[in-house]
């Protein structure tokens, strides 16, 4: 028994040695490469790698090559905790990119804070992340902003009464709460409110219940898969309403899955102009590195996160996390990435403006 434990530990350390070569400047990343979020994780990873390649092509950081050590978190909070502990202790990295999904991110927050490790998020939106601590930053706007955005969109389209449905997880519930407060405060009425479970294949009962309220518009805060399934089944069941959605379902994949049922959907998204030189160069670089692949959901944010990190590492006076933290705050001021202004406020949050998207003729376009 003892022997077994010790030999296992010995093997663990033997293998781990030499993963971070001298002369590299490395940061860690807890990424969902397996499990239910793996669909997204792959895209995040590709976007981050794209940024890393560019940094290295431009001479690396202070003459050293830049490297990201990826750790899988199995899309679970347990896996995230294990992964970040490993990155902190074994790889001794001062800066780590946190896991996607707010619940997993919230699980690692205290660990980063305790260990004084800089933690960055590129796609975790929960409002409570703002309160995580001084070492936690995110380049993605908080739900607070997005919830307000959807409420404003609904009002601006003239809908006074809506049915609200949302995916029953941390993200969906958080967003729905903000929307509800905003919308009702502005005199709107929510006729019926129903969460839908994540990852189901049959939402007909839920749709029927929405349909029974005869709404003119339904606010559906959900993901791609769930969104597509709902749109499809609603179409089959003859439910004709104006669908209002959030940013997480804004994807070409939604159109692939739902086909003509997705036609006419209007949604909001934290906008950034696709006309900026930053975005154009990102787009070009992406198409060069991953020809034929669509840019992934939140890919731009991951890309910006890595780029911003490199800048901070370059200007930091040492490789300690405190110095990096200082540098990060400094370089972010006025930094314009592909996704716009990334200046961190005192909570480590960024501001964003919200745009509106719609699906027309099988294509995502801006709604005007």
């Amino acid at each position: 028994m003892k022997k077994f434990v010790f030999s296992t530990i010995a093997i663990l350390f033997l293998i781990s040695a030499g993963r971070v070569t001298a002369g590299d400047i490395s940061v860690g990343s807890v990424t969902p490469l397996t499990g239910k979020l793996a669909v997204y994780g792959e895209g995040f990873q590709q976007a981050m790698l794209l940024a890393a390649d560019e940094i290295n092509a431009a001479g690396g950081i202070k003459g050293n090559s830049f490297k990201i050590v990826f750790e899988d978190n199995n899309s679970t909070s347990k896996g995230s905790v294990s992964a970040i502990r490993k990155l902190i202790t074994i790889d001794k990295l001062p800066l780590i990119f946190g896991p996607a999904s707010s619940s997993n991110f919230l699980a690692v927050c205290p660990i980063a804070e305790d260990n004084k490790i800089v933690l960055l998020a590129a796609e975790s939106a929960a409002a409570s992340i703002s309160k995580c601590g001084s070492y936690v930053f995110r380049v993605f706007p908080s739900d607070l902003l997005q919830g307000v955005g959807v409420a404003e969109l609904t009002k601006s389209l003239g809908y006074k009464e809506v049915v609200l449905t949302y995916v029953n997880n941390d993200w969906g519930v958080g967003l729905a709460e903000v929307f509800k407060t905003e919308f009702t405060a502005a005199g709107g009425k929510i006729i019926d409110e129903l969460p839908h479970a994540e990852g189901k294949t049959d939402y007909r009962s839920e749709i029927l219940r929405m349909k029974s309220q005869h709404p003119k518009a339904i606010v559906n805060l959900t993901y791609i898969k769930e969104g597509a399934t709902i749109l499809k089944q609603a179409y089959e069941m003859g439910l004709k309403v104006q669908w209002l959605m959030g940013s997480a379902s804004k994807s070409a994949k939604l159109i692939d899955l739902a086909g003509k049922a997705s036609e006419g959907v209007i949604g909001t998204y934290p906008t950034f102009s696709q006309e900026t030189p930053q975005y154009k160069s990102f787009k070009a670089a992406w198409e060069k590195k991953y020809p034929g692949k669509k840019t992934p959901v939140f890919g731009e944010y991951n890309y910006d996160m890595v780029k911003l990190t490199a800048l901070a590492l370059e200007s930091a006076s040492s490789n300690s996390s405190d110095d990096i933290r200082e540098a990060l705050l400094k370089v972010s001021k006025g930094y314009i990435g592909t996704t716009g202004d990334k200046s961190f406020d005192e909570n480590g949050d960024v501001n964003a403006s919200y745009g509106q998207w719609t699906i027309k003729d099988g294509k995502i376009s801006d709604y005007k």
Partner: protein, 296 residues
């Protein structure tokens, strides 16, 4: 070093969890496939109580008690069922508990989970807390081990084994098998609750997705692999499985293949379960050997 502490803590918590299921499954022959529910009840109860200001030791004790009571709640109606029906009933029970965690949002915050679960002041939250935490968890695991060993070696423990071998014989010997089985489930659930309490205050964040069928299968695997109905079996099983899972991290796998890791791991776990049943149903250490260690 704290990565190692972390793995040891997790392995010890799982060993407590596995031992608690072993009492039911290994020693008494009750196929409880919903054991994760009690782990979850312990975790949620302790987290919610301590978040609302109850001192942590008190919260923990109440949580363990609640898990035990929930065990009784499950046992009373379902114990009359024969083996596989009991299995289904427990599985369904766990799914129902999971749905409650997920949807009783006013209490559990639903899928948002419970962040910032406190730890006792003397343990603290920083890196320095890890050795202390390890000591606490080790102490809990040792207490569990010793208590369960005392229980299973007592006359009560022997009754459990008689029930496992032949319930009718046990009844013929004048034993109140229903009461004995209920006690076994309540004890097992309380220890699962203990594991859950430790988990909640260690990770400091829990959400419903931590308590699913997947975890039940993992802990079932720990027991079957180590040797059900033995004292060391679940401990060895838990350490093997947790270390194996962490070990995989260190295998350099090109990123385009990482998506195959988790399914392969799952297939290996499933395969081990099947092969163990076919070739070595008693597990790595068999019950008689376990007995010898006991007497030594």
């Amino acid at each position: 070093m704290d990565y190692l502490y972390h793995i040891l803590i997790i392995a010890l918590i799982y060993s407590i969890f596995a031992q608690s299921l072993n009492l039911e499954l290994g020693f008494t022959g009750l196929y409880n496939f919903g054991h994760i529910a009690f782990f979850g009840i312990g975790a949620y109860a302790s987290a919610l109580l301590s978040l609302s200001g109850v001192p942590i030791p008190v919260a923990a004790l109440i949580a363990i008690g609640l898990a035990g009571i929930a065990g009784a709640f499950l046992a009373l109606p379902t114990l009359r069922l024969s083996g596989d029906y009991f299995g289904i009933a427990t599985l369904v029970f766990a799914e129902m508990v999971h749905l409650l965690f997920l949807n009783e949002r006013d209490i559990t915050r639903g899928p948002m989970g419970l962040p910032n679960i406190p730890r006792p002041d003397w343990i603290g939250t920083g890196v320095t807390s890890l050795p202390l935490l390890l000591a606490v968890v080790f102490f809990a695991a040792a207490v569990t081990f010793i208590l369960l060993r005392i229980i299973t070696n007592s006359p009560f423990g022997r009754s459990l084994k008689v029930i496992r071998e032949d319930e009718f014989v046990a009844q013929a010997l004048g034993k109140n098998t229903f009461l004995i089985k209920t006690k076994a489930i309540v004890t097992g659930s309380a220890f699962a609750g203990l594991a859950g309490v430790l988990w909640a205050h260690y990770i400091t964040y829990i959400s419903p997705s931590d308590f699913t069928l997947q975890e039940t299968i993992l802990v079932l695997l720990c027991i079957v692999l180590g040797g059900k109905g033995t004292h060391w079996g679940p401990v060895i099983g838990a350490f093997s499985i947790i270390f194996f899972a962490e070990f995989i991290r260190f295998i350099p796998i090109p990123s385009e293949y990482t998506r195959f890791v988790a399914p392969l791991q799952g297939m290996i776990y499933g395969f081990i379960l099947v092969i163990m049943m076919l070739k070595r149903p008693q597990g790595l250490i068999s019950e008689s050997r376990g007995q010898r260690t006991t007497n030594a």
